[in-house]
Amino acid sequence: MTEKIENPTLPVQVLSDFNSLGIKELKNLSAQNLWSLNEKEILAVQAYFRSLKRNPTRAEIETVAQSWSEHCRHKTFKSPIRYQEGSKTVLIKNLFEETIARATRQTKKPWCLSVFKDNAGIVSFGKKGQWALAFKVETHNHPCAIEPKGGAETGLGGVIRDVLAAGLGAKPVLSTDIFCVAPPDKKLSLPPKALSPERILRGLIAGVRDYGNRMGIPTAAGGLYFDEGYALNPLVFVGSVGVLPAKAVKKEIRPGDLIVVAGGLTGKDGLHGATFSSANLNGDDHSTAVQIGHPLNEKRVMEALLNARDKKLYHSVTDCGAGGLSSAITEMADIVGARVQLEKESLKASDMEPWEIWVSESQERMVFAVPPSNLKAFEKVFADEGVESRVVGEFVKTGRIEVLWNGRPLINLSLKFISNGIPVEEKKAVYIPPKGNESRALPKKSLAENLKNILSHLNVCSREWLIRQYDHEVQGGTVIKPLQGTRHDGPGDASVIWPQAATKDVSDLSGFAVGHGLNPASGKLDPYQMAWLCADEALRNILCVGADISRAAFLDNFCWGNPENPQVLGSLVKAAMGCRDASLGFQIPFISGKDSLYNESKDASGKMVSIPGTLLISAIAPVPNIEKAVTMDMKGPGNSLYLVGQTGEDMGGSLYHEINGLAGGAVPRVDARCARRNFAAVYQAMSKGLVASAHDLSEGGLLTAVAEMAFSGEFGAMIDLDALPKQKPIYSAEVLLFSETPSRILLEVKPEHEAAFLKCVKGSCVKRVGSSIANPIIKIIGLDGLVLFEESTAPFKAAWQRTVLS
């Protein structure tokens, strides 16, 4: 165990001339101390202390800087935006409220137990609704660009703690990870201190592997996306799903509750992580912001917390993330107030200033509100797991945050100032649609060549080398695994988890599925449609494994460039509007979200480069009976193949365009009404056990999906292009085979189930387009009735399995 330092005595640092400083000096001070407070904000802080007729302590400014940081406050999403599109200008008062939050309210889902309030979104779960699922996905981009392994570890550790602190605490049963990095096979010219994409990717995988595997939580729902735009700013989305009793969703702090910190000791790790998220990466040494994860400590905290929760020993809990104790205690004290004696916090470094203790981001710590009568029992539960817990103060009904350091006042701020004192600043956003230069002449490469190029494309090819590094079986509930098929190596659409390790009830066969939608390529052409496509893809992924999508919930994660640039903000606004409309269109609420902005850096030539605006939509939905879950591999010969949804001429942003060097085109549109009807019918059929396999049509369109289903099941398939349901007549086989029209799914139905299946899907757009065959070949009958394509699946599987890294 790291040694504890006794009796730290460094004095309180008062900024004795703060109130008399001019604006230039204030700005310098903010920059020097990494406060990331802008001009208006630092002036507001000065005005507040002038009104109090005293100078602030450093700790007070640090508290305000943490609370007002982009990371904690989501300033861009919550401040007014003057938005211009064409000749129209509108004032958006609060982007979050007017888009995502409004849509969630309007969908009125009673099974949403907690949305956007707690550390994670919470929905009802289980046969009798006696359980709840908490789901959170976080970004951890900036730390991962500097130290990928440490960043990925602490990112995952942080999101697991979010789920541990959802309600009174959920037991994590699934971790998710999505990385966006630059292609490692491209020679890129990077600035001297930037890490190579390959190095970043290896580090990220090692971080999630080492932390997730040691925590004993399956990592089974991930993704990997390559684009050169992520060379300087890789994106890392880590998520966690936990299960908690429905009764433990509500938490409430009562005045008189003790503030107890439990977990690792506090050191100098990761100082200024929260304010760091408001800053651009500019090549300077940010070693103070680097954190290293300690999964064994977190595992102990997790076990103790769940034990204490079941014994009802505390009233509330939150995790110490960005901003450390400062953010955690201030957030918890929100409507009450808190009095803290900071010298009672346990330290592992001897030279810490009091403000450093207050904002340190040492990992694996949680803050609890414990009624005094339970303290002894609480301390025992944690001590039994080898976790130190210490009382550092109490919650009091003062509406203030008061912190003492060895009896001397360190912080005395009104919570009202912290939560409402931030100056409102109107931002400007302009949306200029990118110029479309539709190129209709399709190149004449053979279908087989195109298919091979698509299957071996970095964004499609097998992820087995990565998935195999993660333990996706631990806890024994991964009923549908990430890799599917006869040889357990096919690309599953989603995993299904049966969380019996948490519920300890094997008679309840309720499971859940998690899927993701990510499509930055379409975002470059149309961010509004990107949101629709992400929602659609996330939904189809979980529908394909048999999830009840009428009970689905979404999570949003926005990663964008610098919002001070009106065009960047314009595309962000457009994507948020897309989220709102997709949520209303599909009638699916958002329950939690996160944004990470300022993802831009200077490249080797000194030019500021921003990432492509990237939206990740994650979907979670129950699978009411895990025995009815479906996989994507073909199950046998002689079965019918049904295509759900019409095919259109949707080549804009498609992979086919990319590999053939074509640009532009319109991004496909989602017809939500039609898609909802089709999806509902498909779910009906699946829940009756009438669907043998299902796979969504995404990058690479129909031919790619057919090939994947066939080679995973080691059967063949015959498809008749004439039978495809089409939006309008299409005469190009390439378009029919590679178009990326959304909302489409390919289903396999056994002959004995066909009549019942057709009854289920009556009235929706589901049409028989071919059949599975015993011989492992793919045969396409062209529009003229002649065989257009007849190839063995083996070379395609080989192309798909050839990967850059392994």
Binding site: E147, G150, R199, H286, I292, G293, H294
Partner: protein, 159 residues
Amino acid sequence: MIAASTHRIEVSLKSEYGDAESSSLAVVLKSSGAPTVSKVRKSRLYEIRGSFTAAHINRLSRDLLCDPITEDFRVLSQPPSTQGPFWRVEVRLKPTVLDPEADTMKNAMTEMGFPAPDFIRIASIYKIESKCGKPQIESSAVRSLLNPIIHLYSITACS
């Protein structure tokens, strides 16, 4: 009473076992600017300071630090004996960076009944066989084996 001293223990995979990590590191080093790398062997170096007898150190190495089936350990005298020619790259975390492995090891040592160590530092050792010069080895190591923001490193030629 035994006087406190620093003990250095190197743990490496027995030569009869294929070392997948080292082989893949060779590929990575080659592609990051050291094209003539022919072989890499990775090992772990534990530096433990405390009042330990030779029997303590032997038991600690055998029972905690190495997997006796696949790994060998050597208690090193100063300076470490070497068999070259190769480049020896030593990588350790900066003292300001949390070392969870050392932390866990301290815990385990106390639980196993050893005297509490004063400190533990764990380093990775890479023995790189290559005709490349030091600058090439250094730049390729910085690009692929370590992160100068959190690591300290040293590179020595062993012959």
